[in-house]
């Protein structure tokens, strides 16, 4: 495949079958390898779409500073896109994220401002919103509320899935900004309404839920509950176990959030088997495992891995 530039190569990711993890010939799992994007994560799609959308609207002048709250992947994607297009980037990132994320952001030329660990991404969003007020010349694309994020998946991820797997019955992805699920969900509602849209939501350690009061809770502006069929909460133990199974049985080296998604996908697969139904379940491999090596989760016992992730924003 040939492209005019790196940015032109975003998307068009492979969909691969999982012959060993699929429970039967009638109930099959399919992994969409979003780690094959230029910076190695699904977030390249949203980052590129948000920047192009802002350019079209005339919001971005050359050399302008972009600002974004991110737990890592969106920041890394934006840093790459910003560098290609001639913008600066400031990321607000919770301090309880893996070391590799900060290193990668620095490599692509982004500046990182840390937000407190307690409160997780909620705090990053709050700090970024404060910075946006103080720096009116900065542009916050704001992945949690920017329709271009979901639109990237409506226009690309969804159609790619349907073209590669016309028999798709379920789509499973992680619930972060909700952009992937909202975009793909809307696409299937319009083009193949029977497809179940399933969210896997990471359940972090307690530190991340350390809100001072319940009014500080956060629901992304993009979120539309009616597009989802169901939503599962997946803890770190199941996420790590599935991440290792994916590596061991199918040879796919993925990050921990993918393990959480696979856990939900396998739950659905088991239900389909029990009900005697056939199913083609596609799920998102959000990123590769490289950025999580320092956490130590690929080695040792599951308990050790779970301890290593405690208090970390692992998805």
């Amino acid at each position: 495949m040939r492209f005019d530039s790196l940015l032109d190569s975003v998307g068009h990711t492979p969909l691969v079958g999982l012959p060993r993890l699929s429970p039967s010939a009638d109930v099959r799992l399919w992994a969409k390898l979003e780690d094959r994007n230029p910076t190695g994560s699904v977030k390249d799609r949203a980052a590129l779409a948000m920047v192009i959308d802002a350019e079209r609207k005339g919001v971005l002048s050359p050399g302008v500073t972009l600002l974004e709250p991110t737990s890592g992947n969106t920041g890394i994607s934006l840093a790459m896109v910003a560098k290609q297009r001639g913008y600066q980037l400031v990321c607000v990132m919770p301090e309880n994220t893996s070391a590799e994320r900060a290193q990668l952001l620095a490599i692509w030329g982004a500046r990182v401002i840390y937000s407190p660990a307690a409160g997780g991404s909620n705090e990053a969003v709050r700090v970024a919103k404060e910075l946006a007020v103080k720096n009116p010349d900065w542009v916050m694309l704001y992945q949690y509320g920017n329709p271009a994020n979901a639109l990237a998946h409506y226009e690309n991820t969804g159609p790619e899935l349907l073209a590669d797997l016309p028999s798709i019955t379920h789509f499973v992805a992680g619930l972060g900004t909700t952009g992937t699920l909202m975009g793909v969900g809307r696409f299937f509602r319009e083009h193949k309404p029977g497809v179940a849209i399933v969210a896997a939501e990471p359940r972090y350690g307690e530190l991340v839920y350390g809100l001072r009061n319940l009014d500080e809770g956060f629901i992304p502006e993009l979120y539309d509950e009616t597009l989802l069929t169901t939503r599962f909460s997946v803890g770190p133990s199941d996420a790590v176990r599935r991440t290792r199974e994916l590596l061991e049985l199918e040879g796919i080296f993925a990050g921990v959030s993918t393990g959480a998604i696979l856990h939900a996908a396998l739950g659905i697969a088991a239900k389909a088997v029990a009900a005697g139904e056939s199913a083609d379940i596609a799920f998102i491999v959000c990123d590769g495992g490289w950025k999580y090596l320092s956490t130590g989760i690929y080695q040792g016992t599951l308990d050790q891995a779970e301890d290593a992730l405690d208090g970390q924003l692992w998805a």
Partner: protein, 90 residues
Amino acid sequence: MSIEVRIPTILRPYTSGEKLVTAEGPTLEAVIKNLDVNHPGIGERVLDENGLRRFINIYVNDEDVRFLDGLATTIAENDSITILPAVAGG
């Protein structure tokens, strides 16, 4: 029949700091009412006049009850209930 309910940090002042408490009831709503009998005040932090509060998520066996039957969700022996505040991912 007693059901285990996981309590988030922010609601533990109502449970004397306990992370895991037990409650009883055939539905989620009954379980929350029973929870409030033993831990007065917790009910109104979880529910308001419209039902489940906006920034509260409750999971029965890890599935979000908003996609089950909401407060009418049937609760059976050995089910687990987790209460969490809604936080940002990404």
